[in-house]
């Protein structure tokens, strides 16, 4: 997937929200959706189960308009977090320009986070992408939960962020950290473009 198309003057960034089930990936997208002016956003596509779990994936296109003469679009995707939807996750990951790993801050979810992180790495490898080469940021969601239930950002960084990528404490339900995360991943993706490696 071409990140920058000089002939049609388009920049398209595909950003995938990855993470264990119920960590708040779709919530992130919903928050962004709610803040983007109607004219700028496309229809948010969400295929959810009856219990509101993401069945296939969520898709939110955002049109940032003309930037430096380039029609700039962001496509935000989420993957279904449940373990048994791995084929879908792999499919959604295909051609992504950047990944946001949405981790669940709850202490008892740590193993799920780790498992999902490993799953991300192996799925990227299936596409021939080294996780180290892929722009990645970490978001530790649900930081609004009672202190005794959750791990703090430094603790989570210690446990999950062994690559030292940018990480954000977030409360996607109320929006804390959502745009910070999006901004950070956008910068990473766009910087890669600046480095002269339009994929």
């Amino acid at each position: 997937m071409s990140l920058v198309n000089f002939t049609t003057r388009e920049i398209t960034c595909k950003i995938v929200y990855y993470g264990p089930g119920r960590s708040g990936k779709t919530t992130n997208l919903h928050y962004v959706y709610g803040r983007v002016p109607e004219t700028r956003r496309g229809r948010m596509v969400s295929l959810a189960t009856q219990t509101d779990r993401t069945l296939f994936f969520d898709f939110l296109p955002i049109d940032l308009g003309q930037i430096s003469g380039f029609t700039t679009r962001f496509q935000l995707y989420t993957v279904p977090g449940q373990v048994y939807y791995n084929a879908t996750r792999r499919l959604v990951l295909q051609g992504s320009d950047g990944v946001v790993f949405v981790g669940d801050s709850q202490a008892r979810q740590l193993d799920e986070n780790l498992e999902s992180l490993q799953n991300l790495q192996s799925n990227l490898l299936e596409h021939g992408v080294d996780v180290r080469a892929m722009p990645l940021v970490m978001q530790y969601n649900k930081q609004d939960l009672p202190r005794e239930l959750i791990l703090t950002q430094p603790e989570l960084d210690d446990a999950l962020n062994f690559r030292g990528v940018p990480s954000f404490a977030a409360d996607a339900l109320h929006g804390t950290g959502v745009f910070e995360t999006l901004k950070s991943i956008s910068e990473l993706v766009l910087k890669r473009l600046a480095a002269g490696s339009p994929a």
């Binding site: 920058v4 000089f6 002939t7 003057r9 920049i11 709610g34 803040r35 983007v36 002016p37 700028r40 940032l64 308009g65 003309q66 930037i67 430096s68 003469g69 380039f70 700039t72 109320h174 929006g175 804390t176 745009f179 999006l182 901004k183 956008s186 910068e187 766009l190 910087k191 473009l193 600046a194 002269g196």
Partner: protein
């Protein structure tokens, strides 16, 4: 003529909100890198939203960062006025030059271009000139370029080619911030909630907001008691707690968090800056490449063309291809320089767009520089038999090999055909070629002539010459073949002189003394005579014996003094005929399946005794003649049918 920049209008005093963040970011970027980031920058907004403030802030910031910059701020009206004045004074050119030397031109109120065709043309020309020179243009208008009535299409596209940003009406928070900032500037403080109440009134622009602030400041100054929110609303003519317009939704946001729209705008402006840097980064890369290769003396037209384009595809590939071409040129030039210093430094080797020409030029040089024909390895000096008849020639040859170009130059080997001139010539060549850095040209005169003809035909006489001029020794066989070849003689004459001057060895062979050769120009003949003319005579017995040894060894004939003596005593006029004799004897021996002996040789060479046939009884009936032909009894047709029978046969 131009307005001066108002010092109050700087970035520090500009209150940034969601509605103008993009414009301000773009503006500060432009101020930091005039001419390189967004050019032109076109800012539009409704009246009183800070266009002028932003323009001047850009001017200030640019001036602060680089005090030497020549910055002009003016409104379009001022520009028009100045233009008219200049035209009236007949100073149109001076006017143009003045603006073309500006580093950053800030033009306000561009919307007044409507219905001013001549000014549009003038501005178009100026915009083009400034852009080409890499100078910054910032324009402000109350509407986007496309909506300025009657604006030239070219101007619209030019204005839109950089960055077009708008500034909207400030949101509630920004309005509060503006009011607080302005109140502070005036040294006035209000009760909590007053400024917020004012901010809730949706004024269409900041100017009116300022007017509102002025009124409550005045009201509070007149009355001793501090004004409260309700009073403020009354003063401003807004009754009750009714809020107007867009501001109403903002305060419902959770306190301490920016409004939703703001979050997105903030994100958008951040992304814009990042994209701007990323997209423009290619220009930086191209420019860097241009500078680098220009510095090394290469033509960079191809890269410059990239810069002219708005959106060249695959810049990095283009640069990489360019670099690759340059590297190729470098390699070619190095190669060519080594071969022929005269062709080095040619323009063609410094223009990657003419790589093909350079390749062709290098190929020509390479061909010309291809080593000239070398001596044949089939004639080693070891295998050359010497005797009294060729002693002089062999000694001369050894002297030449020991000190090429010093002792006998030229050396001319004279003798009849078959006496070993060619062998000796090549042997000298082989020995000379063993010396370090030696390039030995050794060929027959016929080949020399043919090459020259081909070179003339291919219009490549120069490379042909260059090819031989590189040689450290020139050995030509059968120089008498030059007879009548005027052009070759001419070339050889020049070559001759060059070789002599440079003490490079020349060796020739001829069937007779050069001055007796017909058709050879006097100047060449005399030069040939000027060296050493060494005659090779008919082989004497000693030489024949010496020559026989390797010959017999070659045919794996066991050493037999009687045979050698017999063969050496045979009268032969040349080594070649001696070789023929040996050949005949060896073949006959093979045919008879008997060892080579003096007796057999005598039998073969002097006529066979009658017994010969009977001795051949053991054979299969095939007798191999000395000529190598095959004669077999069984394969002979002895009885031919009568001609009549044959005809009938064929008719059937």
């Amino acid at each position: 003529m131009t307005s001066t920049l108002n010092p109050r209008f700087s970035f520090d005093t500009f209150v940034v909100g969601a509605a103008n963040r993009l414009a301000v970011t773009a503006g500060s970027t432009v101020a930091e890198n005039p001419g390189s980031a967004y050019n032109p920058l076109f800012i539009y907004s409704g009246s009183g939203l800070g266009k002028t403030h932003l323009l001047m802030a850009i001017g200030h910031a640019a001036k602060t960062l680089a005090p030497k910059l020549n910055i002009e701020y003016l409104t379009l009206d001022e520009y028009v006025e100045a233009f008219h004045a200049a035209i009236a004074a007949g100073q149109g050119d001076v006017f143009r030059r003045r603006f073309q030397n500006v580093d950053a031109l800030l033009v306000d109120d561009v919307q007044f271009l409507t219905n001013r065709k001549e000014m549009q043309a003038e501005l178009l020309r100026l915009t083009e000139a400034l852009q080409q020179a890499g100078h910054q243009i910032v324009l402000a208008s109350d509407r986007p370029p496309a909506e300025i009535a009657d604006l030239d299409e070219r101007l619209i596209s030019r204005f839109s080619g950089g960055l077009v940003v708008d500034m909207g009406v400030p949101d509630y928070e920004t309005r509060v911030a503006i009011l607080r900032r302005k109140a502070e500037e005036r040294g006035t403080s209000f009760q909590p909630g007053v400024l917020e109440a004012v901010a809730k009134i949706a004024f269409p622009n900041v100017r009116e907001l300022m007017g509102a602030l002025n009124r409550i400041v005045a009201y509070q100054a007149v009355n001793d008691t501090p004004i409260n929110a309700e009073a403020a609303r009354q003063v401003l003519g807004v009754s009750g707690s009714g809020e107007q317009g867009a501001g109403s939704s903002a305060p419902t946001e959770a306190p301490g968090r920016a409004s939703g729209a703001d979050e997105f705008s903030q994100f958008l402006s951040d992304v814009t800056v990042t994209v701007g840097k990323a997209v423009e980064a290619w220009r930086a890369r191209v420019a860097e490449a241009v500078l680098r290769w220009e510095g090394e003396g290469y033509r960079t037209a191809r890269l410059e063309k990239l810069l002219d384009q708005d959106t060249p595809a695959a810049v990095d590939e283009a640069i990489a291809a360019y670099v690759q071409d340059v590297e190729r040129l470098k390699a070619l030039e190095a190669e060519v320089t080594a071969l022929d210093p005269q062709t080095a430094g040619g323009k063609v080797f410094h223009d990657p767009d003419r790589l093909e020409e350079a390749e062709a030029a290098a190929a020509t040089v390479r061909e010309g520089a291809a080593p000239p024909p070398a001596p044949s390895a089939a004639f080693p000096l070891d295998g050359y038999a010497s005797g009294p008849s060729n002693e002089v020639a062999v000694k001369a040859a050894r002297a030449v090999i020991a000190a090429p170009g010093k002792k006998y130059n030229p050396l001319v080997l004279v003798g009849r055909s078959g006496l070993g001139k060619t062998h000796l010539l090549n042997a000298i060549g082989i020995e000379l070629a063993k010396k370090k850095g030696a390039v030995v040209a050794c060929l027959s005169t016929q080949a020399f002539v043919d090459e020259l003809i081909a070179a003339i035909d291919g219009n490549r006489v120069n490379w042909w010459r260059a090819r031989y001029r590189r040689a450290t020794a020139l050995l030509l066989d059968d120089i008498h073949l030059l007879a009548g070849k005027e052009r070759t003689q001419e070339e050889l004459f020049n070559l001759f002189n060059q070789f002599l001057d440079a003490d490079r060895q020349l060796v020739f062979t001829a069937p007779a003394h050069p001055n007796t050769l017909a058709g050879l120009e006097e100047r060449i003949a005399s030069r040939l005579e000027g060296g050493l003319v060494a005659e090779i005579g008919e082989p004497d017995r000693e030489l024949r014996r010496a020559a026989l040894e390797p010959l017999l060894k070659q045919h794996r004939v066991p050493a037999d003094p009687a045979l050698r003596d017999y063969l050496a005593d045979r009268p032969t006029d040349s080594v070649r005929s001696l070789t023929g004799l040996v050949q005949r004897v060896v073949e006959a021996a093979a045919a008879q399946d008997s060892p080579v002996s003096a007796g057999l040789a005598r039998e073969v060479l002097e006529g066979a005794p009658a017994a010969r046939r009977t001795t051949g009884l053991r054979t299969s009936g095939i007798v191999v003649s000395s000529a190598g032909g095959v004669r077999s009894r069984e394969k002979m047709v002895w009885d031919w049918p009568s001609p009549a029978d044959r005809v009938i046969e064929e008719l059937r």
